[in-house]
């Protein structure tokens, strides 16, 4: 949205050319300037500049929706609002399960079972909707190399013996869990950026990142000067990308 070119914001051609001489080509550059600077750069009067600002803002601003419309949309599709964890007390506390469309974070000391939980959620996501799943693929970004496919099959077989009664069903499930091993922060960020197309093409319904802290801790030593800012930068960028993906496709992350 920010990188939207001014041409597409319906500004006149000569104005765009004039602005590009000052290196102002995107909406972001335009909106970051103050009114006086805009007047100098466009050569227009105060009132015209205000009109231009409004035009460019219209091109960038988000759409309005009332809370009522949102509620109606959610109640039309109640099953798609949550992914149940099949642990009844946890589901009750979470008001239905892991919410779709937002980020959920699981933290604990080592050995408590985070990776096991993630593996189980991957199995649940591939189940059909009638059994409480999301009937879709899973993207699993693994930074600790802790994912074990055998354990995945074991969980599936023991938890849902009636469903996974044939090898074929197991193959089908394992094929829809896409595992990516990324060992550095840059790779993780690159992978998250490339996820948008994959989600559409592979019909992904769940994204799991296991774990964010390990890869960040390995690379950024907070005692060194400047690393704290870089680390927060990386984390915040990753978080906003994931939030965008979660909301855009209404999937749990």
């Amino acid at each position: 949205m920010a990188a939207k070119k001014l041409r597409r914001a319906k500004l006149s051609q000569e104005l765009c050319e004039r602005l590009s001489r000052y290196q102002i080509t995107t909406c972001q550059d335009f909106l970051c300037l103050s009114l006086l600077e805009l007047m100098k750069v466009t050569g227009q009067s105060y009132r015209n500049v205000q009109k231009l600002l409004r035009q460019v803002s219209l091109a960038c601003a988000p759409k309005m929706q009332t809370a009522y419309e949102m509620k109606v949309r959610r109640s039309v599709n109640p099953s798609s609002a949550f992914l149940s964890t099949t642990l009844h007390s946890l589901d009750k506390v979470l008001h239905g399960g892991v919410p779709c469309g937002s980020l959920t974070e699981i933290t604990s000391p080592p050995g408590c079972g985070k990776t096991q939980f993630c593996i189980m959620m991957s199995v649940l996501a591939t189940l059909p909707v009638s059994m409480g799943g999301l009937d879709g693929a899973v993207v699993y970004i693994d930074t600790e190399s802790a994912f074990s496919a055998e354990r995945l099959v074991e969980i599936a077989g023991n938890r849902f013996p009636t469903y996974f009664d044939s090898d074929e069903k197991l193959f089908c499930m394992t094929r829809s869990i896409h595992l990516y091993r990324e060992l550095t922060c840059d790779n993780v960020l690159k992978r998250i950026k490339s996820l948008e197309e994959e989600i559409i093409s592979k019909k992904v319904k769940l994204i799991i990142i296991d774990s964010v802290a390990s890869v960040v801790r390995k690379e950024f030593d907070t005692k060194l000067q400047g690393n704290l800012a870089e680390r927060s930068n990386f984390l915040a960028r990753g978080a906003s990308l994931l939030k965008y993906l979660a909301e855009e496709f209404s999937i749990p992350v």
Binding site: A2, L31, R54, P62, T66, A67, S102, N233, L235, S240
Partner: protein
């Protein structure tokens, strides 16, 4: 009429030409007329006409202001302000202790900033206020609508529905107790659907969308003149990451603050912002301070800081022009933002009443 040409809101190229041609006051421009102007400076007749129209508008605006005319004048006596302030409404928060320290509730025409660590209840308060602003006047509310600008994506419609249902129930109880006719009439229009449909929600993903939305807000508020609350949930989030140029950030934030003050004053609405906390590393210890730096601290009129004290949530009034600094406890229940119940009566029920979406802070309470 003696206004200098340099102070007129014309384009800089035009101004340069006028200065080069020797024009000094606005009166000279008006006397020359469009054809003369176009000949002397070398611009087309249409441009000259436009310029003269702008000059005429500015000068008539000046005359009205010097004659003490009505409209855009911002001068008034302190007595008029006092009467205005006393007649002004507050938006109650349903937590009487918080309303007390704020002097009645969230004040209209002022910017209130709520800072706190993650998970302490800032978004809950914003959702509560978005519902409370719609309470009809006969129940003590301001009967307005709400604009909710979300940058973090933490707005949960189901939660707002719960809070709204509790609020409607509360009003129904009051109406039954008082049995007045305008209460009944007001209750007809104050329902869950109407509350939800009067919360206008915008989801801004980065700071450009936020800036664009704030530029467009005055027009939106003129169309929806009943809006009395603008909530920006998470003003720090889009500005905290991906910003190499800190001076640009300060400039944008200051511009944003100024626009919000204008919006609050012109449309008589309250502006509520939520901010994050950041750690300031001192000599030997680190303290939590509101994010976005010292200069942002001047933007808000009233500042509330939410924090934890073991397992109790506390709200501190950090900055206010009229109330003194104090701290009060509050809780979040399934019904929304509420006072702390007296401990002797409801020790057990309080722990089960805590918002099921929040993790319990201490396991032994359950």
């Amino acid at each position: 009429m003696q206004r200098a040409v340099g102070s007129l809101p014309l384009g800089p190229a035009l101004r340069a030409r006028l200065a080069a041609a020797g024009f000094q006051t606005a009166q000279e421009l008006l006397d020359t007329g469009p054809c003369g102007l176009s000949r002397e400076i070398g611009i087309s007749k249409e441009e000259a006409l436009e310029t003269l129209q702008v000059v005429r508008q500015e000068c008539s605006g000046d005359a009205a202001r010097t004659a003490g005319g009505a409209g855009t004048t911002r001068k008034c006596t302190a007595l008029e302000l006092l009467e205005e302030e006393q007649a002004q409404g507050f938006i109650i928060t349903f937590c009487s202790a918080l309303d007390n320290i704020l002097g009645g509730g969230v004040q209209l025409t002022k910017i209130t900033e709520v800072c706190g660590a993650p998970g302490v209840g800032k978004t809950q308060l914003c959702m509560q206020l978005a519902v409370d602003v719609q309470i009809p006047e006969c129940f003590g509310g301001v009967c307005g609508e709400a604009v909710f600008i979300d940058t973090e994506g933490s707005f949960m419609v189901d939660r707002v529905a719960d809070i709204a249902a509790a609020c409607v129930q509360h009003c129904q109880l009051i109406a039954e107790a008082h049995q007045e006719e305008d209460h009944q009439k007001a209750l007809e229009t104050f329902s869950l659907e109407s509350i939800l449909s009067h919360i206008y929600y915008f989801r801004c993903r980065d700071y450009i969308e936020l800036l664009a939305q704030v530029y467009l807000l005055p027009d939106f508020l003129s169309e929806h003149s009943k809006v009395r609350l603008v909530v920006i949930d998470g003003i720090a989030f889009p500005f905290r990451h991906d910003f190499e140029d800190l001076s640009l950030r300060t400039r944008l934030l200051n511009g944003l603050a100024q626009q919000l003050i204008i919006i609050a004053n012109d449309h008589k609405s309250a502006v509520v912002l939520t901010n994050q906390m950041t750690t300031r590393i001192g000599q030997s210890q680190s303290t939590l301070v509101p994010a976005l730096g010292e200069s942002w601290g001047h933007a808000a009129t009233v500042r509330l800081i939410f924090h934890w004290d073991k397992s109790q949530r506390l709200a501190t009034l950090y900055k206010s022009p009229s109330q003194k600094e104090s701290t009060i406890p509050y809780t979040i229940t399934p019904h929304g933002f509420r006072d702390v119940q007296p401990p002797a009566v409801t020790q057990n029920t309080e722990s089960t009443e805590m918002n099921p979406r929040k993790r319990p802070r201490r396991e032994e309470e359950k």
